[in-house]
């Protein structure tokens, strides 16, 4: 078996998700190649050579790969796919976007968002917002898989000595191009890879109170900020703060849920966290059923007290 893992990066740094996907590849077993595709991303490929368990790093550089959409990325992966038994990418906004194109063009079924490798052709994945786990067997010659990064322990950053090969990027399809990019200006750690996440819900009551109460706490803990869907829908924070089945899936060492009741949708996105703290005024809130430490109280008093005690 030979497995192609597609790296997640921002042309400067490899994202942590990549090392988790590599762990899923190791669980499948066989030789592992890592594709680094982007624009001016040779340094990322160079650093990826040291990742544990990677036999070969493939580097594809092209302006098109940065500004063009899923079409070009899918064509690139497709051009390499026949050499492999498995194609893996993170089930991130990026992997979810282009991987199904690859599967369709190979005429194979994609297995989305796996959380467990049962065998090289058998995988377990959450369905129904994580209420149920399904175990599926793939009969396709090439298995096309996206991986829930948080479900796999990351491989080590060092210890490998992969060879580096350059591959050609696919030509621009002309179908799509990026005309604007608005990245949130944030000095905080990335939500999906942060060690600590502070998340707020509708209990915060307003955008002003969300930032006034949670930002100082997150600053003290060097935490990423997250939110429930209710908080996002109420306009307290932008969409990409959303933790949940339809938002981001996180599994930090410490997850602090403030004013979040604990809808199934939200729990699906954070219940793999190592330690969960819930602060809520309603002692019957479902969030307490998954919290290691629950504190029933008024968040307006509890959160500032916690912040100043840290």
């Amino acid at each position: 078996m030979t497995i192609l893992v597609v790296a997640e990066h921002d042309n400067q740094h490899l994202k942590a998700a990549t090392r988790h996907v590599l762990a899923a590849a190791q669980a499948i077993g066989g030789e592992i190649h890592l594709l680094v595709a982007g624009q001016h991303c040779a340094a990322v490929a160079e650093s990826a050579r040291a990742l544990s368990g990677v036999g070969c790093v493939l580097l594809a550089e092209s302006d098109v790969l940065d500004s063009a959409g899923a079409e070009c990325m899918a064509d690139l992966v497709l051009s390499l796919a026949r050499n492999y038994t498995h194609l893996l990418a993170a089930a991130s906004a990026s992997g979810k976007n282009w991987m199904p194109r690859v599967a369709a063009l190979l005429d194979v079924a994609q297995v989305s968002d796996i959380v467990r490798v049962d065998a090289p052709d058998t995988f377990t994945r959450p369905i129904y917002a994580g209420s149920v786990w399904a175990t599926v067997h793939s009969e396709d010659a090439i298995k096309v898989i996206t991986v829930r990064a948080t479900a796999f322990e990351a491989v080590a950053e060092t210890g490998g000595s992969a060879r580096l090969e350059k591959v050609d990027a696919a030509p621009d399809t002309g179908l799509s191009r990026r005309i604007h990019l608005a990245l949130n200006d944030s000095s905080r750690p990335e939500l999906e890879s942060a060690r600590v996440v502070v998340s707020g819900g509708r209990g915060l009551g307003s955008a002003e109170r969300f930032s006034a109460l949670l930002e100082p706490l997150a600053d003290k803990l060097n935490a990423a900020l997250g939110a429930s869907r209710a908080a996002v829908d109420s306009g307290y924070v932008p969409n990409d703060y959303q933790v949940g089945q339809t938002g981001k899936i996180v599994a930090p060492d410490l997850y602090i849920a403030v004013g979040i009741s604990g809808a199934i949708q939200h729990l699906a996105g954070m219940k793999a966290s190592r330690v969960i703290v819930a602060i809520n005024k309603d002692p019957d809130a479902p969030i307490f059923a998954v919290a290691d430490y629950g504190l029933v109280g008024d968040l307006n008093q509890v959160v500032p007290a916690l912040t100043s005690a840290l």
Binding site: E71, K96, P100, A109, I127, Y128, S131, F288
Partner: protein, 249 residues
């Protein structure tokens, strides 16, 4: 331009899914089924294009059992002009649905296909992308804003860490995220009118598509349960536990 909106019949959003006792699937019998919420958003987007004079006709399509007629009637009540049911008792996977839709797209020649980014039952998040690939079309997934031009669309989409805006050629496939719009409810007069709108029924064989599953479902089960912990009395006790018991700060 014609707009095609695929809609899926799924277990209602408010019902917690449970495995059948023998683990062979998810218990659905006797439970309320509804239109996939992301597809409702797609329907709403299509209706707004029509109201703005940018769409000429909205065709709703569903692939599945005869019961999907209900979902199509809902789509018609919301504002679709006509509906197509591809009827089969096979459990359809995204690739099969994408192939069925491709044949219908070639027949109907829409300028835009707009569908939900994922269905809330299998959470696959594949069908729209697969359809775009099979057609060789542009795609814009997870759309939170769409501006339709005559031969291009500009779509703002949610990515990790922010938003990007794509300019894509039409025809294209767009998949909807939650924030694109707030879907309307069907009114009683429109529900009555929907009963008279055309609903065509076809089979996968009529469309020449093999819908045999490539993935075999071996079992479904409850996920590993997380044990609840304890309640602490105050901030001091919480900090003590986090420092000395959990050792996370």
């Amino acid at each position: 331009m014609k707009v095609l909106v695929p809609v899926k019949r799924v277990l209602d959003y408010n019902i917690k899914a449970r495995p059948k006792a023998d683990g062979s699937g998810v218990e659905l019998s006797g439970l309320k089924m509804s239109m996939n919420p992301f597809d409702e958003i797609a329907m709403e987007a299509a209706i707004r294009f029509k109201e703005a004079g940018q769409a000429s006709e909205i065709i709703a399509i569903s692939c599945g059992t005869q019961a999907c007629q209900e979902t199509l009637r809902t789509a018609l009540a919301l504002g679709a002009d006509r509906a197509i049911l591809v009827e089969t008792d096979e459990a359809l996977q995204p690739l099969a649905v994408a192939k069925l839709l491709k044949v219908l797209v070639l027949r109907e020649q829409p300028g835009l296909v707009i569908c939900g980014k994922q269905a809330i039952d299998d959470d696959a998040n594949q069908t729209g992308q697969m359809l775009a690939a099979l057609l060789g079309w542009a795609q814009a997934t997870f759309a939170s804003r769409i501006e339709l031009g005559s031969d291009r669309a500009s779509v703002t989409r949610e990515i990790d860490g922010g938003l990007e805006t794509l300019s894509i050629t039409l025809p294209a496939v767009i998949t909807t995220d939650l924030r694109l719009n707030e879907p309307r409810y069907a009114t009683l007069p429109n529900i009555m009118k929907a009963k008279k709108k055309p609903l065509e029924t076809l089979t996968p064989a009529d469309l020449g598509v093999d819908v045999t599953s490539r993935l075999t479902l071996l079992k479904v089960a409850e996920p590993p349960a997380r044990q609840g912990g304890i309640k602490v009395n105050d901030v001091a006790e919480l900090l003590d536990k986090l420092k000395n018991e959990a050792k996370v700060i």
